[in-house]
Symmetry: C2
Subunit: 340 residues, 2 copies
DNA sequence: CTGTTAGCGCTTTCAG
DNA sequence: CTGAAAGCGCTAACAG
């Protein structure tokens, strides 16, 4: 059994209060400080964060909930979140919803019971009820790369709609008019990208054909399935906009399998630039998201909330905030210039 | 402020003990059970796991430490670990070493202070000192996909050496004799794979050329660099064995960039079959690891340890265990049959 | 089956 | 600056 503050007390002859003060960075006589440090080293004392948490009602731990931890996007996000949090002396507790809203909700309850000081969430759906337990417990939460339909939270997103429009506009400027879209309406993010696609098409006066709109789930499987359908179309589009990294994977797979030479036979613009574009023979033109900024801003907002909880501020500063990050279109060689 | 067990007491008129017993699945009169449940619903009571942990000295939380959470391999591993743990009613606390041994050690200390009941670790090095704090605190730990040089722990690994030999043997059976290897000696796993390469070469009576052995770090960057050197060699090998997923990525990148047609110009066998082989035009022949089994067996061992800590068993059962998982070689089309 | 009591390890008043 | 004492929310004997 590990040493406790009591053992330090026996060893040094000082009181619990003094030792506790030392532990928390308070002022202690140099002489006592030395005694305490010697005892700590001798007994290998380590603070019991559980006991500390019970009395301070703060665990210096942030819960991080992602919709799927096996998804590369989330892995990178977590990496940045972790680095930022440790900068503030906070640890993180990661939970994985595995694309299951029920599990996601149970995870939040788990985090609440664990008394995390705050929650950072990459949500799987647009329904805020998953965070109900956190709201009830007054635990601040920040959404990354998503928003809810029915309730506002602090959030960090990219300008999804404009980014998608930018990507589709790039195709249009390269002479394409028959442009298909593979996406989803299941999440805020994917929904916005859908809108962006339509914006760009309408702005250019192009027809939005329902047989060119593939709206399903954000998975490699769906991307693969949709692209296969596109490949087999009689009146095939000359270009495809794929609205998510997992979809990109499926699109590329389908093309390879069908031995489609791109961009000769069909042009592609994707979303997210996570290594894929680098390993492909024909590199993908894609919208790149500022992954690190998601972590930096998300943590920043959460820290502010946590501190203002301790020391309430004016209502004015309490409004929700949505940080909108900028994206860039990375030009690969997956788009062919069409003769006008 | 959330409701406590005391509030339930006031609401129901029952004693703390009865309520606590109910909470922990003990027998309570149906009448009282109803009262308690009503109060819990009314007051939105949730157990405070922190307080519970303080007295039971158990948090029902497992610490999971990975060397790099942005690495796909770890993301998938964590996914499986999480699913297994929740089966046992345990949560997990994920920490990311970000390929920094110092940070890894600090992370373990963090987990120890958080009083996790056990640790599952995908280690970044072969030096057991990173787990020193856990050992001191008598927290059981299981290593996944790795071992230490200087100390034995429970572990789950694959038969790295044989798997690598199998992969290289596959090349040899296809008529290759000039086979290069890109790998590392920084971790147990990569070191074993190096040995396996040599085994296969020696068994076949082939020369192990030092200029065909690329030993560096397990990164996409190194794979890219090494493959570029290979491509530019005067006496170029006809085949390459890449010993890790990240290396595979770099190898493929280098070939694409140099416009090398494989397997026509050079054959490749890789390690790990994480989506990459599926999105490549020429699918990669590679050793596939049983990702799910890592999670299943790792959690199984840890649970056993945790329970025997509570109820010590005979010494005989206390020996360390190393589960060795089997792999398969997935045949893609990245290897060319050479005329004898 | 239920209630009383003590105490987990720590922080935090409040005196001194 | 230091010490004594109370208490965070819960569980675990032990009586009843």
């Amino acid at each position: 059994m590990p040493a406790t503050i009591k053992d330090i007390k026996e060893e040094t002859g000082l009181s619990l209060a003094t030792i506790s003060k030392y532990l928390n960075g308070g002022n202690v006589l140099p002489e006592n400080r030395k005694k305490i440090e010697a005892a700590i080293n001798k007994l290998h004392y380590e603070v019991n964060e559980i006991a500390r948490g019970l009395v301070t009602n703060s665990t210096r731990t942030i819960g991080v909930s992602v919709y799927d931890i096996a998804d590369m996007f989330n892995g990178i996000l977590i990496h940045h979140i972790g680095r930022e949090l440790s900068r503030f002396g906070y640890g993180m507790m990661v939970v994985d919803a595995a694309n299951d809203v029920k599990k996601e909700k149970a995870n939040i309850r788990f985090l609440v019971n664990k008394k995390v000081d705050g929650i950072i969430m990459v949500p799987s759906s647009m329904d805020s009820s998953v965070l109900a337990d956190a709201v009830k417990a007054e635990i601040p939460a920040v959404l990354l790369d998503g928003k809810f339909k029915d309730r506002t939270f602090d959030s960090v997103t990219i300008n999804n709609r404009e980014s998608a429009a930018l990507a589709v506009g790039y195709l249009i400027r390269h002479g394409h008019t028959k442009i298909a879209m593979i996406g989803s309406n299941s999440s805020y993010t994917s929904n916005e990208r859908l809108k962006g696609y339509r914006d760009a098409m309408e702005d250019a006066g192009l027809e939005i054909r329902s047989d060119y709109s593939f709206v399903g789930e954000l998975s490699m499987e769906y991307g693969y399935k949709a692209m296969n359908e596109i490949i087999r179309m009689k009146d095939r589009p000359t270009a495809v906009f794929s609205a998510n990294y997992e979809l990109n994977l499926g699109v590329v797979m389908a093309m390879n399998e069908a031995k489609i030479i791109y961009p000769d036979e069909i042009s592609v613009v994707g979303f997210d630039n996570l290594i894929l574009s680098q390993v492909l023979k024909t590199s993908l033109t894609a919208v790149e998201q500022p992954m690190e900024r998601f972590g930096v801003k998300g943590v920043e907002i959460l820290m502010k909330r946590i501190h203002e909880k301790k020391k309430p501020v004016s209502d004015e500063e309490k409004d929700f905030v949505n940080i909108i990050l900028n994206t860039h279109l990375i030009e690969g060689s997956s788009v062919k210039e069409l003769a006008p």
